[in-house]
C-alpha cells in the first residue's frame, strides 16, 4: 500500500463511529489536561489505560494519541492568558504570548496558536505517512556522541534566545544543569546532593520548577499593583489576527512545523526543544528581533507549531520501528502490547488498521481540536475581564494542585514555592528563567550521552568530534553561531566604507 492508499484506508478506519468517538474523547481530555498546569498527558494516559482494555487496539491507540497531541494544543491557552505554562513545552509561548495578552491581543495569540497547531499537525501527518519510516531509520543512526554534540550545541545556540546578556544566560544554564544533577546518577545509581532525603533521590521534577518560575512568579508580580498593567479590554473584532499579523505568522508556522516534525524523531523532551529552537530561529530571521519578548506574534506562531509538530513526529519511531523515544510513546507501546498488536517495523503490514488508522485519526483529531477551541477563544479572553483577585486565586490553586498531581508529592509543592520566589527575584535582576528550564530538561540527556560517549571512545574525547555525523553537526552549529558575527562585521565594514 503506498502512503496515499494507506491514508485513505486509515480514514476509513478513523471515521468508524467507535474510533471517531475515541478520537474526540482523547483530544477533549488532552485539551483539558493541557490547559491545567502540572497534570500532563502521561498522567491522563496512565489513568485511562485500563479503560482501553475493552476497546479495539486501533481505538485505544487513537484515544491515547489524541490525549497527547490534544495536551500540546491546550498547553498554550494558560501560557498566553496567564503566563502559566500548561505544558512544559509551552514555556516559550509565555514569553510573547502573555505580552500580547497585556497589549490586548490575547485573541489573535490564541487564534494563531490554534491555526499553527493545526498546520503543524497536518504537515506532521503527511510526513509520518510519506517519509516517516525512512527518517526513523536515519534517526536510529544517532548514537551517544551525536546526541551529546547535538544537545551541547543546542544549548549554546539557544543561549541567545531571549536577548538577555550572554553571561546571564550562561548562569541560568549552569543553574539548570546543576539542579539536574540532584538525585540518582543515571549510570551508576549513586545518589548526589540528596542530603539523605529519599524524595530527592528521584531528582527534582521539571514541572514544579517550570510552573513556579513562571506561574507563581507571575502571581507575585501581580501583587505589585503599581508595576503591572492590567490586560486591556478586548473587543470582538480584536479576537482575530489582523492582516499584518497573519503575514508575520504564516512562515513561522511553516518553519515551526518542519522543525517540530524533525525534532520529534529524536529522543528526549523534543516538543520543548523544538519550541525553543523555533523561537530562536524566528528571532534570528526577524527584521525586528527587539520585538521578541515584547509581544511578537512570530514568537507564538513558530513555537506553537513546533511543539505540535514534535508531538506528531514523535509517533514515527514508535509506529515505524516500535521504539519509544519518550515516556508518552512508552505508554502507547504498552497499550499496543496489552492489546497483543505487532510492534516494530511489521506493524504496518501485520496491523495496518492500527498504523494507518492512528495516522489518519490525527488529522481528524486536529480538525476536532480546531472546532473545539476556536469557538472558545472569546470565552477564554473574557476570563481576563474577571477581577484580579479571582484570577490570582485561581492561578494559585491551579498551580498548587496541578503540581501536586504530577507525582502526589508534597516536596513538589515546596519546590514550586522556592522556584516561584526565585523566578520573581531573577526577573527583578533581569535574568530569563526560560533558559534554566531548558537546561534542566536537557541536563540528564547531556550527562548521559557524555558519559556513554566517553566510555565509547575510551576517554579520547577528540574522537567524539571526529565521527561523520558529529563533525557535520559541529560544522553546522559553528556556522549558525559564527555566520551572523561574520555577516555583521562585513555589514559594518561596508557601511564604514560607503560613509568614507
Amino acid at each position: 500500500m503506498n502512503p496515499f492508499e494507506g491514508l485513505w484506508f486509515g480514514f476509513s478506519v478513523a471515521l468508524q463511529p467507535g474510533n471517531l468517538l475515541a478520537c474526540f474523547a482523547g483530544v477533549l481530555i488532552g485539551t483539558i489536561v493541557g490547559v491545567l498546569p502540572g497534570i500532563g498527558p502521561m498522567g491522563a494516559m496512565a489513568l485511562l489505560l485500563p479503560f482501553t482494555y475493552s476497546m479495539s487496539p486501533a481505538a485505544a491507540l487513537i484515544m491515547l494519541a489524541g490525549i497527547f497531541y490534544g495536551s500540546m494544543y491546550g498547553g498554550s491557552t494558560m501560557a498566553i492568558l496567564m503566563k502559566v505554562p500548561g505544558e512544559v513545552s509551552s514555556v516559550v509561548t509565555t514569553l510573547d504570548g502573555y505580552e500580547m495578552t497585556m497589549r490586548g491581543r490575547a485573541g489573535p495569540a490564541l487564534f494563531v496558536a490554534a491555526i499553527g497547531s493545526f498546520v503543524a499537525g497536518s504537515i506532521g501527518i503527511l510526513g509520518l505517512a510519506i517519509v516517516g519510516p525512512a527518517l526513523a531509520r536515519a534517526a536510529v543512526a544517532f548514537g551517544p556522541p551525536e546526541f551529546f554534540v547535538l544537545t551541547l550545541l543546542g544549548l549554546i545556540i539557544l543561549s541567545r534566545l531571549t536577548g538577555s546578556s550572554l553571561i546571564r544566560a550562561a548562569l541560568m544554564i549552569a543553574l539548570g544543569l546543576s539542579i539536574s544533577t540532584v538525585g540518582m546518577e543515571p549510570m551508576s545509581g549513586v545518589s548526589r546532593f540528596t542530603f539523605g532525603s529519599l524524595d530527592l533521590a528521584q531528582g527534582l521534577e521539571l514541572v514544579p520548577i517550570a510552573v513556579g518560575l513562571f506561574g507563581i512568579a507571575e502571581l507575585l508580580r501581580m501583587a505589585e499593583d503599581s508595576f503591572v498593567s492590567r490586560p486591556q479590554p478586548v473587543r470582538v473584532k480584536d479576537l482575530l489576527p489582523s492582516k499584518s499579523e497573519w503575514r508575520r505568522a504564516r512562515w513561522p508556522i511553516v518553519r515551526g512545523s518542519v522543525i517540530g516534525f524533525l525534532f520529534g524523531l529524536i529522543p528526549g523532551p523534543t516538543a520543548m526543544i523544538a519550541a525553543f529552537s523555533s523561537y530562536a530561529l524566528e528571532r534570528r530571521l526577524s527584521k525586528t528581533p527587539d520585538e521578541f519578548g515584547k509581544g511578537a506574534i512570530e514568537g507564538v506562531a513558530g513555537p506553537e507549531a513546533a511543539n505540535n509538530g514534535a508531538a506528531q513526529g514523535s509517533f514515527i519511531p514508535l509506529l515505524a520501528l516500535g521504539i519509544p523515544f519518550g515516556p508518552v510513546s512508552a505508554m502507547m507501546l504498552t497499550a499496543l502490547l496489552i492489546h497483543g498488536a505487532q510492534t516494530g517495523p511489521l506493524l504496518m503490514t501485520a496491523n495496518p488498521e492500527i498504523f494507518w488508522g492512528v495516522t489518519s485519526s490525527m488529522y481528524v483529531g486536529n480538525v476536532a481540536l480546531v472546532l473545539l477551541n476556536l469557538p472558545f477563544i472569546g470565552a477564554f479572553v473574557a476570563l481576563l475581564r474577571l477581577p484580579k483577585y479571582f484570577i490570582a486565586t485561581a492561578i494559585a490553586l491551579l498551580c498548587l494542585v496541578g503540581t501536586y498531581a504530577v507525582a502526589n508529592s508534597m516536596l513538589d509543592i515546596w519546590v514550586l514555592l522556592i522556584s516561584g520566589v526565585a523566578g520573581y527575584l531573577l526577573r527583578k535582576l533581569h535574568f530569563e528563567p526560560a533558559m534554566l528550564v531548558l537546561a534542566l530538561a536537557l541536563g540528564p540527556i547531556l550527562e548521559k550521552s557524555l558519559i556513554q560517549s566517553l566510555f565509547l571512545v575510551q576517554g579520547n574525547w577528540v574522537e567524539i568530534f571526529q565521527r561523520p555525523i558529529t563533525a557535520a553537526i559541529f560544522v553546522i552549529g559553528a556556522l549558525i553561531v559564527l555566520a551572523p558575527l561574520v555577516l555583521r562585521r562585513f555589514a559594518s565594514a561596508g557601511a564604514a566604507e560607503s560613509r568614507s
Binding site: I39, A174, Y389, T393, L398, L417, G459
Partner: protein, 150 residues
C-alpha cells in the same frame, strides 16, 4: 538596595553555589575520562557556574549597573503570598484538601483585594468545590488523608 549591590550579591551567591557543587562532587566516587564516575558532570557544571559568576562579578565591578532595585514596598504582600503557599503545603497533609484549599483561597482573595468576608468565603467555597470535583473524581488525583481530622 542598589542594582549594583544586588548584582554583586547574585554573582557571589552563584560563585558560592558553583564552588559548593565542586566541593561536594569531589567527595563522590571518581573515575577517569575513559571510565567516568558520577562526579564528572557535576564538577564540569560547578566549574561552568563559578567561571560565569566570576566574569559576571568582574564585569559588575568594572562597569557597575546604575539604578535601584525597589522591592521594599512590595515585600509585605510578596511575603504574605509566599507564607500562604507555605501554609498550604504544611496544612494539606494535616487537614486534607477541602479545608486547606478553602483557607488558601480565602487568604489569597484578601491579599489580592477582596476584603469582605462573606463574599470571600462564598467564592472560596465555590472554587474549592469546583477544584475538588475537577481533580478528584474526574482526573483521579489522590490528596493526602487529613491526619488531624482522623
Amino acid at each position: 538596595m542598589t542594582q549594583r549591590a544586588a548584582n554583586l550579591a547574585v554573582a557571589t551567591a552563584f560563585m558560592a553555589i558553583g564552588a559548593g557543587q565542586i566541593a561536594m562532587a569531589l567527595r563522590l566516587p571518581g573515575g577517569s575520562l575513559a571510565e567516568p564516575g558520577p562526579n564528572l558532570f557535576p564538577v564540569f557544571v560547578g566549574a561552568l557556574m563559578s567561571a560565569s559568576a566570576t566574569v559576571y562579578l568582574v564585569r559588575e565591578l568594572l562597569h557597575g549597573s546604575t539604578g535601584r532595585l525597589d522591592v521594599k514596598e512590595q515585600l509585605p504582600k510578596i511575603a504574605g503570598i509566599s507564607l500562604t503557599i507555605a501554609l498550604f503545603a504544611l496544612l494539606l497533609p494535616r487537614l486534607g484538601f477541602v479545608p486547606t484549599a478553602f483557607l488558601l483561597q480565602l487568604a489569597m482573595l484578601r491579599l489580592f483585594g477582596l476584603k469582605r468576608l462573606v463574599p470571600g468565603m462564598a467564592l472560596s467555597a465555590a472554587m474549592t468545590l469546583v477544584a475538588y470535583f475537577l481533580f478528584t473524581p474526574l482526573l483521579g488525583v489522590r490528596f493526602p488523608n487529613a491526619q488531624w481530622l482522623g
